[in-house]
Subunit: 220 residues, 6 copies
């Protein structure tokens, strides 16, 4: 098993990549596949609009093509799953998106999933995606914390907003499991889950865990 | 009303653009907005894969940005509606996609719509899109004629396949209205509708007609 | 193009017909089809109940039959779309309902549509209709302003209620596009859209615009 | 319990009313409510089109109004449930439609219901109705026997078509329960069920049984 | 008609069985089938968890097997419908569950049903069931009164909570019909319906009424 | 990581358990959690009916309770996921069902999943479960190979039936990914996938892979 699971952060923020790298650390085992987290330098600092989503697909596909021979699987680590289906066409390896994997994982932890988005403008995009996934029957709500990329640096405020948003999803929308609608926020997961009292899914972990399982089974 | 509805064919085949141009001719009126059909030279000869779809978004947005001031509306004339939501973000003008408009128009003509796709690989992409649109409750089926871009030059064979596929959708899947799942096929519409005995929607016409209405109402 | 799009207001209030007439004025072009707005004198002053809806179908069909030869299309201008499918059976012309067209148009402007109803008793009827249309996956909510037909004469109060209801749909139900659930309210549309900050669809305009497009394309 | 359940056949065929009368005979008990089956002379010989459906609502409501004081419940005995919701508004008594009751009853007998329609033109109308009922997730298919009202007099042929249609629904569409999509066919039910090997619901029985239960419970 | 409809309360509380017995009293007629309400002594005092639900299935099936020859129908009188489908396999008699019957009955009384649950932990279980029934398109909400089995003895408090919960379902979730999500609460139904102003369905009545109809029709 | 993932085969066939044991072998890594496959001796030779499903829940819960302290996760290895939600209530460990995990995994491999069932009587049970999961929008079909437990010993015949059924799902129902609707069939997976040309999911592998990921992440 000499090949690598490549987790590609399609924005150019290395701090996000580093946070993802720490998040997936428990999935690295001596015998299992390597897991490498990469930044896409061509991406924007943060992926906020549909235009941003669509714009990173080209560079993402190019990068993945270079990595193909060394890859055992790919994880696209942005909650809009940019290029997921194009990369599935291009690559002979399994490909996972963190939104898809995060939501599917949530379906094993509760009956109605709520999503904590960063920006309100992401919500219609998420809804189109959940519709394409055919999972709206399990959808409780999608609410944003309303902070821009730069404001996320204030961790106390970010966490406070996440907690308030999680409570609204739980109490007002009936969510019994929460999906974090972004990459790079794994450091808040455990505390958020504890305070909300319902499971919270960190989507880069969810997707990389699925990738790990697929890779281990690939030879069977 | 000096501005123009720009119908952008995101592939580089000028013959497709010309076919679209003829298809929307009846929507040009003396007093109404001008309608200009453009080819995207950066596009592939035909848009066949998700990668093709995603790949034309950048050039499409660039072209539309140049046209913004002269535009009264945009129509994206590929049945995968590439860049539809990104262009809606970017532009202050109304933006229409031919798949969205074609399906919504079909919903006024029958209870269950069937789609004639060109290639089988397009079908999962269509299904994701119809799911995102939330219209699967009205979906009858999506079947392909199984011809590549170059084979479409044989018009007799193309029509024969369309007719057979339309019959399967009508008789085997319960479709009572058909959407042509591609641009540039308007010349077959009337005959196909006549032989099938159920309405057939040509999607570039559907989208441009919607654009026309929106433009006329824009000042109210 | 000597034939006429007949927009039939199935209630007997000529003031409503006049408001519709003004609403569709921008769709009248020198070269395009004529658009005539008619009142159905047999209808009630306002259509408020399912009984009212069902009761106008007979007179509506009779009137449409008289107009058939002069018609290029019909628009049924009541938000319950009375007789829509019966008229589609009876007529050889395209037939549009303002609820159907208003909702389908909203689907091109936002991801979740909210409806402003006049009376609370209309809401279950709307829901049955949206279910029949298969669009509940895109439905955000339907709330009434709670004013009777006579109270609608107080325009300031009516607008104030519409605005409050639109805000509830936007903020409490996640609507990002609003459909006015009645005919004859076009004069509030622009201001409402401006204050809500999300698109507002006036359904008689939506339906008549669709009819215009269909008529222009009819000979192709 | 001196009041009566009125089962109103909204077509003018007394033979249909008589067949209904026999079908509901087992629901008449000494102590229970009377059940009277009526013909609507204003109705057409058979209800075949949406226009027919809508056209009988007025006479149906008038007749029901006359019967209101003597009624304990109403059953509308046409599979398009004409006037069901208008009658629910008008009457203080419980009101049942045979399509609604037939389908809901089928949901207790199998996982996917199939419908045997008389005419193909009824199918889109049925689908709109099942959509309004919100039961399309349990829908297997709706196929017609393709016989006109007069042809139904040939009982052998009618039964043969019903059996063939039921087999198509069972084997090709996955139906595990069948609803007869018309009134007046109860005489075929038992044999059809026996030969198909899956439950067959006769909808006038289903609706009248529901009415009986509601009436008995009305005083609690 | 010498056989009996057996209504089996799968918990061991005879007070609940007695309440059910009173609730179905109006369905007993001189000529009609007998209705016997039984307690399952092997059941817990109250069925609160999925484990409780699953745990009573074995004893329930055993008891029903003993009763088979004397039975004309079975009603499983717990809102989680424990063993419903297993009993349908085992028995040659019609079998009804109170949740299924309660919800289906509600669909004839309003467009969106709300459910009053006893405990919050029941809600995901209810949602799974409504999903399996395919009726989520008609679902308004499911809220609990938050009282344990022993606390239900305080009738004033129980009623007050039910009323408050019903109001939340009606005003906040758009419910226009309420289903009581438990057996043994029939004594509150009439008053609750009166104060809420929308229909309230007591599910043991709904199921037993359906059973009665089925039994009366069984010989046809 | 000294605890174990317990994969419990709830039927009493040790050959099935052994087949599962081989299927999950690739998921055993030196550093990762142990995976132990157990037989439930109280179970029937094969789980064929709803009664069988419900009947194994009690023994399954008892066995899992004994294993709780040694467990890092549980996998319920029967395609009806018996006791899944009860075990989730009982245990503090993550619990997976092979039907749930198999279908969710399929959603990452195709747009419409088909299921190969063993017996036709399982299909309505599967459909109820997929409805409860809210994934019917992605469902293509569920067809059985029609062989009893003992007939499955004829491997050539079993494989031939699986292949034919897979082809029907792919060609007649539009499935682009297949889920094997049973445990213990992993030996056919690779060949079936090769001959069908679309992904085939073996559900015990899917569930155990999910369990592995969850366990590795459990401390984060």
């Amino acid at each position: 098993m000499s090949r690598t699971i490549f987790v590609i952060n399609p924005n150019s923020s290395t701090s996000v990549t580093e946070a993802i790298n720490q998040a997936v650390e428990p999935l690295r085992t001596a015998q299992g596949p390597q897991i490498a987290c990469l930044t896409l330098p061509e991406g924007p600092a943060g992926i906020q609009s549909q235009r941003d989503v669509d714009g990173v697909i080209g560079p993402l596909l190019s990068r993945a093509k270079e990595l193909e021979e060394d890859a055992s699987a790919f994880v696209v680590a942005c909650f809009s799953d940019p290029g997921l289906h194009a990369l599935r066409e291009q690559s002979r390896r399994p490909v996972f998106g963190i939104a898809e994997a995060g939501v599917l994982t949530a379906l094993t932890l509760g009956q109605r999933f709520g999503v904590i988005a960063i920006l309100p403008t992401s919500i219609p995009r998420h809804l189109r995606y959940f519709g394409a996934m055919g999972v709206m029957a399990r959808f409780a709500g999608d609410l944003s914390i309303g902070l821009g990329v730069t404001e996320l640096a204030d961790e106390a405020r970010t966490y406070e907003r996440m907690l308030a948003t999680g409570r609204s999803l739980r109490d007002g929308h009936g969510a019994d499991v929460i999906v974090m609608g972004c990459a790079g926020m794994a450091r808040y997961r455990r505390r958020l889950q504890g305070e909300l009292g319902i499971p919270v899914v960190e989507p880069t972990q969810a997707a990389t865990a699925m990738a790990l399982g697929r890779v281990l089974l690939a030879d069977l």
